[in-house]
Amino acid sequence: MQPHERITAAINDANDGGRTALVPFITAGYPERNTFADTLELVAQAGDVVEVGIPFSDPMADGMTIQRSSHEALKQGVNLAWIFDEIDRIKDRVDAPLVMMSYLNPLLAFGYDRLAARAAETGVCGFIVPDLPFEESGELRAALENQGVGLIQLVTPASPDDRLEKLGQASRGFVYAVTITGITGGDAGLPGGVDGYLERVARLSPLPVCAGFGIRSAADVENVGRYVSGAIVGSALVEVLENDKDPAAFLATLRGNETPS
């Protein structure tokens, strides 16, 4: 199985078990650099796929929570090489496929070929790059595909149908449906009209769809789970971690009334 196919399989497995796939997000090295590996291991037990955020100095698609976590992690000296090393150290204890969320410049600085090789070695199966639209993505996509690592496309409520279709075809692992027209960490809840939008994305996508941005509760997970395969939980989980609360317990509450299979 190619690394990107592991992502798809993990989401399908959850759905086959009657569950909406849960994709927790953590910022690498936040709140503490030295607890990253433990936190990742813990979160990976609760999640079907885990998204690891690579800190960046200019997180322009992110709200206050991820901005804060990003800047704090950078202050603690977190960088991509260290994150790969930490993941490498615990990869045998992590079953859930990992994906990295990173702005483009840290990846560019690391080098695309080196990135793809290191991802394949450490069990990182895919990348989400919020400032890399499809039109500019050829070079990174090619480097990743050499190693079977997927570039996961984001779609948004602003994407017209023909674009949804194109992005769905280009994506690997899953399609990331941004629920809102805005940045991460919104507390206004899911917007009206999200049902029709998610239904449209799911219909036009050949891959499982996971919804993210503004998902904070079991009700949100249940809501998006009616239309798509998975729910991504970022800012809400990062807030749990920065308040020194138990991430596993929080993620369990997101499962709501679902009975684990």
């Binding site: 960088n79 600085a109 639209p133 039109e135 602003a158």
Partner: protein, 417 residues
């Protein structure tokens, strides 16, 4: 992506730039430029690009733009012969007086052009970022003029050091939002404006103030600012009797420099961009992006940026808020790598000295940004005696009074003599 040009590539790209063929269809100036934006903004950028293509060079838009430049901005701005400065420097020094444009800097050329475009594209409201506050003031004024509500995002550090401009923006009807995120200067203000734009890509028009960011902004801003170089070229021929041997402009994002240089690319004039040398050459002590930076993607564009080995963008320092930026327009990155424009820097202290000298010799209080160009020109004149020099006097220094109070003026007494 590779920023190193192959043999023969530099000449070919420069020829394309001179022929007006850049950016190409993908928004590239050779390897630089492009459009690195969140998916939510992709349709908005496509609409903007289509709008620019439809209107920018259409007769109707150009008539309106030229009329506003003439009757509201006060163009053409003067070309001033700097008599005493010329004597001191042993050169022939001419100043293109963008400080005389309405609201006190070249920024107004771009702001009124984009405000007119926003109106045509049916925007409900306008957002803008600002560093020194000059683009914020220009946007506030332009939006008042065309009748659109305007919100200006400004780093909290800049809000403090450019207080008079904050008050001007508010009086001109704009909302001013202090940005405390990130480094709380221009870069953070652009990040924040992009975040706000993402919340309503249909209703908001973003007036970006420099020749930076994703395509089509570097192109759009250059086209609107080229009036500086077009006028200066004609005025030099008419009033100075010939083109300059060298032209100087300060470079932050690079809008006034590209506006002055672009129409001069085909001439024999040596073109020199001057960045902020700050307090020293260490990372974080200056904003000399082109002189010391490396290629990377920042705020929508592949260009030269100040970053560490991990691709983290570095904070900058300059006494002038308008130059205090870790990136630079992608067209400057190209012009540097083709060798057509050279980029050097002047320190905070050199800029302050130059500001004082211009006040004393020509009675012009220039902006701290602009002072960097004067400092570099003075050094150049020393090494090239008797040459004709053109300096882009991009803005006036009134807004720098809060900073200048830390460097008290000489107290003079003439009655005693």
């Amino acid at each position: 992506m590779s920023a190193i040009l192959e043999e023969g590539e530099a000449e070919r790209l420069l020829a394309q730039a001179i022929a007006g063929k850049l950016p190409d269809e993908r928004g590239r100036f050779g390897p630089f430029g492009g459009r690195y934006v969140p998916e939510t903004l992709v349709p908005a950028f496509e609409r903007l690009e289509a709008g620019v293509r439809e209107h920018l060079h259409a007769a109707e838009f150009q008539d309106e733009f030229r009329r506003e430049l003439r009757s509201w901005v006060g163009r053409p701005t003067a070309l001033t012969y700097a008599r005493q400065l010329s004597e001191r420097w042993g050169a022939e020094v001419w100043l293109k007086r963008e400080d005389l444009a309405h609201t006190g800097a070249h920024k107004i050329n771009n702001a009124i052009g984009q405000a007119l475009l926003a109106k045509r594209l049916g925007a409900k409201r306008v957002i803008a970022e600002t560093g020194a506050g000059q683009h914020g003031v220009a946007s506030a004024a332009a939006c008042a003029r065309v009748g659109l509500p305007c919100s200006v995002y400004m780093g909290a550090v800049d809000v403090e050091r450019q207080a008079p401009n904050v008050d001007r923006m508010r009086r001109l009807g704009a909302e001013v939002v202090a940005v405390t995120a990130g480094d709380a200067t221009l870069r953070a203000a652009i990040d924040e404006a992009l975040r706000v734009w993402v919340t309503d890509p249909d209703g908001i028009y973003y007036i970006l103030g420099s020749a930076v960011g994703a395509h089509p902004y570097p192109y759009l801003v250059r086209e609107l600012q080229s009036v500086i170089g077009e006028e200066a070229r004609e005025q030099m021929l008419r009033e100075a009797g010939g083109l300059a041997d060298a032209a100087f402009a300060c470079v932050g994002g690079g809008s006034n420099a590209i506006g002055l240089f672009y129409p001069l690319l085909a001439d024999d004039t040596e073109l020199i961009g001057v960045e902020a040398g700050g307090t020293g050459s260490g990372l974080g002590q200056n904003a000399a992006t082109l002189a010391t930076g490396t290629p990377g993607v920042l705020q929508g564009s592949y260009t030269i940026i100040l970053q560490d080995n991990d691709g983290q963008v570095q904070e900058t320092h300059s006494i002038s808020a308008g130059l205090d930026y870790s990136g630079v327009g992608p067209e400057h990155a190209l012009l540097k790598s083709t060798g057509r424009v050279s980029y050097i820097s002047a320190t905070d202290d050199e800029a302050l000295e130059a500001l004082e000298e211009l006040c004393e010799t020509e009675g012009i209080l220039t902006a701290l940004e602009t002072s960097h160009a004067f400092a570099a020109a003075r050094n150049w004149a020393r090494e090239h005696p008797g040459k004709r020099i053109l300096i882009g006097n991009s803005g006036r220094g009134d807004k720098d009074m809060p900073t200048l109070t830390k460097y008290p003026a000489k107290v003079r007494s003439y009655a005693a003599a």
